[in-house]
């Protein structure tokens, strides 16, 4: 990735973060932390890596994305709106009665959402199923899966990890948004995940550790993952929960929190400054 493209991805990530803050502040409360921490990843995916067509969300040739940490939906909705799946004004309806943008991702409500998630761990197996279906059809679509770090405390993730390796699902590329925090505190204090990449490697996966806020590193890792012919891949993204806003960055309480009008303005100012400096 050249320098200008990298700057473009960084700017896209900031815009995702700003729209996420605005949408959550509109309602006054929401899952902000895990949405902000994956913004750089979404910028790399929706900035170019993911083959998709906002005008034809069900396009057969598209790559798939399962956001298993379903509570991070608002971050994904921001990326989808910015890419033209639906108007940006739609983001104001987040979690309102009758909305197409519920707190957790829902394939039946939102254009561009490939799988319903929210009960942690479950998107892992769904993504493996989608990857298996394409492998059986000898199709070249890639299935991307985003897991939270706390989420991989769920046993189902490791059931899938065994299964995907056994089935040689090289068309499955998994990201772990390793933001080091879960609702009750640091993951290391609640139920430590240890060396995540090493664990997946021992299951027979290709695994890479990269900085989750560096679009070049993320993009390079995806390129390596795409070269795998037998093993599924995991890219462990070292991230900061609530990244991009001092009030939430690295704060355990940022998983879900209220955002007042003043706080929104403070966050947007900080993010705009960062945007201008890119």
């Amino acid at each position: 990735m050249d320098k200008e493209t990298a700057r473009e991805r960084k700017r896209f990530a900031k815009r995702i973060q700003m729209e996420t803050v605005k949408m959550i502040a509109k309602l006054g409360v929401g899952h902000i932390g895990g949405a902000l921490s994956m913004a750089d990843l979404l910028a790399v995916l929706y900035g170019g890596q993911l083959r998709h067509d906002p005008q034809n969300p069900q396009w057969k040739g598209r790559d798939w994305l399962v956001c298993s940490k379903g509570h991070a939906g608002p971050g994904l909705y921001a990326a989808l709106a910015l890419r033209g799946y639906f108007p940006l004004e739609q983001l104001d309806t987040l979690n309102r009665p009758g909305t197409m943008l519920p707190s957790h991702c829902d394939r039946n409500l939102t254009l561009g959402i490939d799988m319903t998630t929210g009960s942690l761990g479950q998107g892992a197996s769904s993504a493996a199923g989608i990857a298996l279906a394409h492998k059986l059809d000898k199709a070249e679509n890639i299935v991307y899966l985003i897991l939270g770090d706390g989420e991989i405390q769920e046993g189902q993730v490791w059931e899938m990890a065994l299964f995907a390796a056994q089935q040689k699902l090289s068309n499955l590329i998994v990201f772990v948004d390793n933001n080091h925090l879960q609702i009750d505190g640091p993951t290391d204090e609640v139920n430590s995940l240890g060396d995540i990449a090493a664990k997946f490697r021992s299951f027979g996966w290709f695994a890479a550790d990269v900085c989750g806020h560096d679009p070049v590193a993320i993009d390079d890792a995806i390129e390596l993952a795409k070269r795998q012919t037998e093993a599924p891949s995991v890219i462990v993204l070292d991230t900061v929960k609530g990244n991009g806003w001092t009030a939430t960055a690295g704060k355990a309480g940022s998983h879900s929190r209220t955002i007042s009008e003043d706080e929104k303005n403070e966050a947007l100012l900080e993010m705009q400054q960062a945007y201008d400096e890119i």
Partner: protein, 321 residues
């Protein structure tokens, strides 16, 4: 619906599992999208011939039921038609949240087969003996919940559900079970079968209890009691029309199920009756107990699931009119 009932009910020569495997092979030959999943019970369910014939389309995930149901959901979202099997308690208890969220809430097309219903789990005992699976599945919005009575009904229903989008749960005996229907009979999901007409009491039965209900009707006839017998193989959507018609005609109902009456067929039938036509109901089934190990005959006696229990319940129901 074209149903012919055998004149004499006796144990089938064909096992339910071989009927299932044979039908799945037949269906998979015609439809490339069918995928059969199992969690290390292909040998137990007799689906190895399917695996041999379609190695890519038989997915044995090993001992991981939650992952199996999630993978099935993923296969469905990508256009496949997954049929997943494990023992009924593992499908409905262990993988319940995956069934609920990944398959049903996500509105996917996933077929779930739970085997060894109730006392037919026999020598596997209480840990493997589901008296609650149908009740659990009935609580899942829009799920279709079926207990095929014999091999003929099982084959016909498997053929139908391939073409009906949605979550279907089939509770299937693995080994032999009494044969009630003639080959080639066809059924309508959601429409019960009137096996025998009668005027004094209606016995609404399912699964293992269908043949017991027919035997009970014979025993009652010897005492000049006329019993109507219904095979309520679809528990959801339940055949309200047949339940109300039976209440109208006989004024007393007995339900008979190889399942806990709490949340079971008795409760489902009663729900219909209290809203439409309240009549006395007696329930033959498991009365809020866990399973235990033993031969099926012993367990039927132990939990009160025999023809003689149905006869007694019928008399109680008639007396309460």
């Amino acid at each position: 619906m074209s149903i012919n009932i055998l004149k004499e009910i006796k144990n089938d020569n064909e096992e339910m599992r071989s009927a299932m495997c044979e039908t799945m092979i037949e269906l998979a030959e015609k439809n490339d999208n069918i995928i059969l999943l199992d969690a290390d019970l292909m040998t137990a369910m007799g689906t190895k011939p399917f695996q041999k014939k379609f190695p890519d389309r038989a997915v044995d995930v090993g001992i991981q039921e939650a992952n199996m149901v999630g993978v099935a959901a993923g296969l469905s979202v990508a256009g496949k038609i997954p049929f997943a099997h494990t023992f009924a308690p593992f499908m409905t208890r262990r993988a319940l949240d995956q069934v609920f969220i990944s398959a049903a809430y996500a509105k996917l097309n996933v077929k779930l087969i739970g085997s060894d219903p109730g006392i037919t789990a026999s020598l596997n005992g209480g840990t493997h003996m589901p008296f609650e699976d149908m009740g659990i599945m009935r609580l899942i919005p829009q799920a279709t919940v079926i207990e095929p009575t014999d091999t003929v009904q099982l084959k016909n229903i498997l053929k139908q559900i391939v073409d009906i989008y949605g979550v279907h749960y089939l509770r299937v005996v693995r080994k032999t079970t009494p044969r009630v229907y003639e080959d080639g009979s066809t059924f309508t999901i959601g429409k019960s079968v009137l096996l025998r007409d009668g005027s004094d009491v209606s016995i609404i039965a399912s699964g293992y209890l269908v043949s017991q209900a027919l035997e009970a009707a014979n025993l009652l006839a010897e005492e000049n009691i006329s019993a109507r017998v219904i095979d309520m193989f679809t528990w959801k959507p339940i055949d309200e029309e047949a339940i109300v018609a039976s209440a109208d005609k006989t004024g007393a109902i007995v339900t008979a199920e190889n399942h806990n009456i709490v949340g079971g067929l008795g409760a489902a039938v009663s729900n219909v009756l209290v809203s439409n036509k309240p009549v006395p109901v007696e329930m033959v089934g498991v009365h809020d107990q866990f399973g235990e190990v033993g031969p099926v005959g012993y367990l039927a006696e132990r939990y009160g699931l025999t023809a003689s229990d149905i006869v007694k319940a019928s008399k109680r129901a008639i007396k309460r009119k």
